[in-house]
């Protein structure tokens, strides 16, 4: 199981490691600064940390010594003079390119830009084919003023097949290395839209999109108004109606080897973003959503108002170790796929993302 966890919070980056079986904070970086996203590149060990400085904008930091020291590298940026004057306000996701693309890093931003670095973050270029699709202008903000690309799934079988999730803009697919893109939200629906646009692929608020590494045709989505699953490579989607205690949430994690196993953290609903009955639970399916088990052992079951953001839930390469961080600064971990959770830290800043490294 992974013995290293990175946490991006409202007030810095925290690295946790187990010591005699107890996870403790082993290192801190950027204390006081918001960290919106982290990436540990398994191909070369490089770490990336995206800062969202309240005054001075988005920055990207890189470490080649495991977090011992950091150097600022280029942050994705829109070219000066572009129509409508976009400017990156937030880095929502960072993912590696394919195993055969060393140094390639994909980045999703607010507003909804997809950027690619081919040189470990030294320079970035906007993916213009996606930016220029006519439907992109119909994307809208989901929780933020502008739309954002929150998920990037690079197919482990062929890195030129990429699925992205947009909040709000649906799922988009490329099968030619990001040269062309098409919307791929068939089967999703949006309760917050007029009836005529309920199934509009671009109106779908994809809070989080994940792909099973061992079965890359299997995807899960936590959507604004429900959970959806695809077993045909994100070409079509089926609603999951069995999840309990609610269908609203932000985070989803999928088992690395079992496409039928996934975890969610339900909340009441969009206008009341707290756990149902103030009881924090994780909903897990092990049978492809035919059923869910509501996991509570070790989680607060009264007066819990934690929300888990879209990148606040992670599973390691074994599928047994999980980490979950909340807006209230609680961090829980599990070594048995969520059957039992342990509170690892209770006084952290609000947590934006957790990642095993």
């Amino acid at each position: 199981m992974s013995d290293r966890l990175l946490i991006g919070t409202r007030k810095g980056l925290f690295e946790l490691r187990p010591s005699r079986g107890i996870w403790t904070i082993a290192n801190t970086s950027f204390l006081g600064d918001p960290i919106s996203m982290l990436l540990a590149d398994p191909r070369d060990g490089t770490l990336y940390a995206a800062q969202a400085l309240g005054h001075f904008g988005v920055k990207l930091q890189r470490s080649s010594d495991g977090g011992g020291s950091w150097q600022e590298c280029a942050a994705p940026a829109f070219a000066e003079g572009m129509p409508d004057g976009p400017s990156v306000s937030y880095i929502l996701c960072l993912e590696t390119g394919g195993a055969d693309q060393p140094g390639w890093i994909w980045c999703g931003t607010i507003p909804g830009g997809l950027f690619l670095s081919r040189d470990h973050g030294t320079s970035w270029s906007l993916n213009e084919p996606l930016w220029n699709v006519p439907e992109r202008k119909a994307w809208s903000g989901g929780g933020f003023d502008d739309a954002g690309i929150d998920s990037i799934c690079v197919d482990p079988r062929r890195a030129d097949r990429i699925a992205i999730g947009v909040s709000t803009g649906g799922v988009w697919l490329t099968e030619d290395g990001a040269a062309t893109w098409h919307p791929s939200s068939s089967g999703m629906y949006a309760e917050y839209m007029p009836p005529q646009r309920r199934e509009d692929p671009v109106a779908q608020d994809v809070h989080r999109l994940v792909q099973c590494p061992a079965a890359p045709d299997s995807f899960w989505v936590q959507h604004h108004n429900g959970v959806f699953r695809s077993t045909d490579g994100a070409r079509s989607w089926q609603e999951v109606t069995t999840i309990r205690p609610s269908k609203f949430g932000f985070a989803v994690a999928v088992h690395p080897n079992d496409p039928d196993t996934a975890w969610f953290v339900p909340g009441v609903k969009d206008e009341c973003r707290i756990p149902v009955d103030a009881r924090l639970v994780v909903a897990r399916t092990r049978d492809g959503a035919r059923s869910f088990r509501v996991l509570t052992d070790g989680l607060p079951q009264q007066h819990a108002y934690d929300l888990v953001y879209r990148h606040g839930l992670a599973v390691d390469d074994t599928g047994n170790r999980l980490a979950m961080g909340s807006t209230t600064g609680h961090l829980w971990m599990s070594d048995n796929a969520g059957d039992r959770w342990n509170l690892v830290a209770g006084n952290l800043p609000p947590i934006a993302c957790v990642r095993f490294a």
């Binding site: 400085l53 309240g54 001075f56 904008g57 600022e72 003079g81 004057g85």
Partner: protein, 89 residues
């Protein structure tokens, strides 16, 4: 020469000592500073070269009005202050 001073909060992120620059406009002054300190630009300006929303610039005691084009005049005897705005939290 005008003088440009930066909030100490920026020093947490990168070095930015007081700079001297010939006057003209805020844009002209800052361009000279950025030529010597390229990394500083993205901390002060957004992708489109506008003043970041939560950064404030004063020429002497007056907050600049032109946040998009930075056309406010700067004389050779003026002082330019770059602050973080309280609106940024």
């Amino acid at each position: 020469m005008a003088h440009v001073a930066f909030t100490a909060n920026l020093q947490r992120h990168l070095a930015c000592p007081v700079q001297a620059a010939s006057g003209g406009t805020v844009r002209a002054v800052l361009d000279q500073v950025f030529a010597a300190h390229p990394r500083l630009r993205s901390y002060i300006l957004d992708d489109q070269g506008r003043l970041r929303r939560h950064v404030a610039i004063y020429v002497n005691a007056t907050r600049i009005a032109d946040r998009d084009h930075l056309g406010d005049p700067v004389g050779d005897d003026d002082e330019v202050f770059v602050f973080q705005a309280l609106s940024g939290g």
